[in-house]
């Protein structure tokens, strides 16, 4: 009977340990780029709307997650090969894709929803987004675009292939708990406020007010947005990559005098405010105040429009040192196994 050579096993263990170590070394030469990526929010883009026609204004609506509507400007220019993901990143946001498909599916923007954030979706009140596979239809980032002064259009193309409109808008709205398969629309209208200054970052804006105030509007009901904007039968059910965008071009919203234009008035009437959290929005891991997360309720609530990036809860805080410690544990286990095998085979 062949006694098993322990060397084979020890070798296999060592090979696996090496295979694990490989990526760590891979990281070392990319570590500085990672670092810059992490710190890019401080440098990339600028707060508020773009002031010229070369930039792309990026709107990220975190209101479904209990955050602000963040408006930032990617200074552009939009050349060929520039994608929605680029615009999002150049405006200063961090973007996470899924593990299986990379950035073909945007899973987190600015770290939200965080891995430890409970999302109330139909069928699972404590869903945690792990960004392994395609996010569910009831908790995903909806991707919209619009020309300046136009309408939000649900993108039929993935953000990693769609080219933003120069001077236009890119909109990201987190769609939470909509069981009818519709997608949330960004909470501000896609119109640049002339050449005036960007909106004061702390102003409170009722995101739904425009629906009732802006006169020339065919779809009166369409703006607690998105519930009807992409027709609910349309396959807006998937995050970006699906085909067949709902043709929202019909709605004549182009008249454009929007409330976002000149510095908006703080309205006292918008009461479902979430408690103010100061300027920096969320501490990591604050669960969205679930109640408002379902249906259209989220958009009924006023959300603050801000130009400041909220802290990203998922900014990889850990260092390479912690990874090396983990690697040390693995190597120790491998050595232990090898030693055990050696002792068993050399027993007198």
């Amino acid at each position: 009977m062949s006694r098993i050579r322990p060397g084979v096993l020890a070798g296999a263990v060592a090979a696996l340990a090496l295979a694990l170590a490989g990526p760590a070394f891979g990281h070392t030469w990319s570590a500085d780029t990672t670092a810059t990526l992490d710190h890019s929010p401080a440098s990339a883009g600028s707060a508020g709307y773009c002031t010229d026609a070369t930039g792309v204004t990026v709107v990220v609506d975190l209101s479904a997650l209990g955050g602000d509507v963040v408006v930032r400007c990617d200074p552009g220019p939009v050349g060929s090969g520039v994608t929605g993901i680029d615009a999002l990143q150049d405006a200063g946001f961090t973007v996470s894709g899924t593990q299986r498909y990379g950035l073909a599916f945007v899973c987190r923007v600015q770290g939200r929803p965080a891995a430890d954030e409970a999302l109330p979706i139909p069928g699972d009140p404590t869903y945690h987004e792990q960004c392994v596979d395609t996010p569910p239809q009831t908790a995903f980032w909806a991707y919209w675009y619009a020309p300046d002064g136009g309408n939000w259009t649900y993108s039929s193309e993935g953000a990693n292939t769609h080219q933003p409109i120069s001077g236009g808008f890119e909109g990201w709205a987190f769609s939470l708990g909509r069981s009818d398969g519709s997608a949330a629309q960004p909470g501000v209208d896609p119109t640049r406020p002339g050449q005036t200054q960007p909106p004061p970052p702390t102003t409170t804006v009722p995101t739904t007010a425009p629906a009732t105030t802006s006169p020339p509007r065919r779809h009166h009901t369409s703006h607690p947005p998105a519930t009807s904007q992409p027709p609910s039968t349309s396959p807006a059910t998937h995050p970006p990559l699906t085909t067949a965008a709902p043709a929202t071009t019909a709605s004549p919203l182009t008249a454009g005098p929007t409330l976002k234009g000149p510095p908006p008035q703080p309205r006292a009437t918008t009461h479902k405010h979430r408690p103010r959290r100061g300027h920096r929005a969320h501490p990591p891991g604050v669960a969205s105040s679930g109640g408002t997360g379902s249906g259209t309720a989220a958009t009924d609530a006023g959300a603050r429009v801000s130009g400041t990036l909220p802290d990203s809860p998922d900014s990889p805080s850990g260092s390479s040192r912690a990874t090396l410690v983990g690697l040390g544990i693995v190597v120790l286990l491998g050595l232990g196994a090898g030693l055990t095998a050696w002792r068993r085979s050399h027993r007198p």
Binding site: A12, T33, D116, G318, G338
Partner: protein, 381 residues
């Protein structure tokens, strides 16, 4: 049949540890399966390469510490090889089909454009993101594979068959035969290759050597199967007693439907993206139907066992440690899920959390807390 007590070796004989519990003995095979399944479940809940590495280390340690010289034990390294192949294949697939994903380019490779209707492209820049994506994914699968290999290496399949409840014999016979085919083939390959090497004038031609190995191995496997079948036949396996044909059919249907339900339900429980109504209800229904089938089937069968395996402290510790690992990691997916799935975009260093690591290290207990295995003294030293 290494289990049937040829000369024994082991530290217990020299009184290194007092107490009769350290006498070498084989553990109940079911406890090894429970332990390995617990670790496999743990591995299925994460793609963190560090955590998976800890699982691998624990599994390998316990296997090298507690396996016997039996043929099925020597198959473990084949599972390890299969795991390495899985990882390599996954990474290769990412290189071929997953180019241009991510920003950290390691090797610049031109892409081969395909018509956009195909929806994919060949090659493209090899990025750290896509390589690591393949590695994380493949490592998880490899770890689960090696976990099952550990169960096969540690548990004696024949004793496993014996310790099944009598009513399950009809199903478990097939399962055990299927499970033991791979280890038996592996052992045959090792034996035939060694015999071929010992023969003078071995043919250096690889293809001819292949033929010289494959045919004896297949013949060997067939012989063993027939041997196993006849020995099982002589022990009364596959005998349905004096049941009517109708009862047999009903029992068979119940067992198969129950097993299918358990499979679907277990899959849905483990895979978070499956609809929830497939998880609990189907699992419970499958278990109920299966138990009903077992009860019906057990009525007609009576068997006795010679020296039945008993559950003693070491067995309970082993099974408990594996189950604890699985449950703790299952729980940590709810409590502290931050580091279970390390982010690739943006690229970040995989981190370890304390709870999952401790949970997995619990699985190491059998390496020290169980009695040493029964081994055969091989030749003079």
């Amino acid at each position: 049949m290494a289990t049937l007590a040829p000369p024994l070796t082991g530290p217990a004989g020299r009184g290194r540890r007092p107490g009769a519990s350290r006498l070498p003995r084989a553990l109940h095979p079911l406890c090894w399966w429970l332990w390995a399944l617990g670790l496999t479940v743990a591995a299925s809940r994460t793609t963190n390469p560090l955590l998976l590495g800890v699982v691998l280390g624990v599994v390998c340690w316990v296997v090298v510490a507690r396996r016997t010289d039996a043929p099925w034990a020597s198959a473990f390294r084949l599972y390890v090889v299969a795991g390495v192949v899985v990882v390599v294949l996954r990474v290769m697939v990412r290189v071929v089909f997953g180019g241009d994903q991510g920003t950290h380019v390691l090797v610049a490779v031109p892409a081969i454009p395909l018509p956009s209707s195909v929806g994919i492209q060949l090659f493209g820049d090899v990025t750290a993101e896509s390589l690591l994506g393949g590695l994380y994914d493949g490592l998880r699968l490899a770890t689960m594979l090696i976990g099952l290999g550990a169960a096969n290496a540690l548990a004696n399949p024949r004793r496993l068959l014996r310790s099944m409840p009598p009513a399950l014999h009809e199903v478990s016979t097939a399962v055990v035969v299927a499970l033991s085919v791979f280890p038996q083939l592996a052992e045959s390959i090792v034996r035939v290759t060694r015999a071929r090497k010992l023969r003078p004038g071995a043919d250096p031609n690889r293809v001819a050597a292949m033929r010289a190995v494959v045919i004896p191995v297949l013949e060997d496997a067939l012989d063993r199967s027939l041997l196993l079948a006849s020995s099982m036949d002589s022990r009364g396996y596959g005998r349905s007693g004096d049941r009517s044909r109708r009862t047999t059919r009903v029992v068979g249907t119940l067992l198969v439907v129950g097993l299918a339900g358990i499979c679907v339900g277990a899959y849905a429980v483990l895979d978070a993206s499956t609809p929830r109504y497939l998880a609990g209800p189907v699992l419970v229904a499958g278990i109920c139907i299966g138990v009903l089938g077992i009860r019906l089937s057990g009525q007609g069968v009576r068997r006795s066992a010679y020296r039945p395996d008993r559950w003693r402290a070491a067995e309970l510790v082993t099974a408990g440690s594996g189950l604890a690992t699985g449950l703790l990691l299952f729980a940590s997916a709810r409590v502290d899920p931050t580091n279970l799935y390390p982010s690739l975009t943006p690229l970040g260093w995989p981190q370890l959390s304390v709870l999952p690591v401790l949970a997995i290290l619990v699985g190491l207990i059998p390496a020290v807390a169980t009695p040493p295995p029964v081994t055969v003294e091989v030749g003079p030293r």
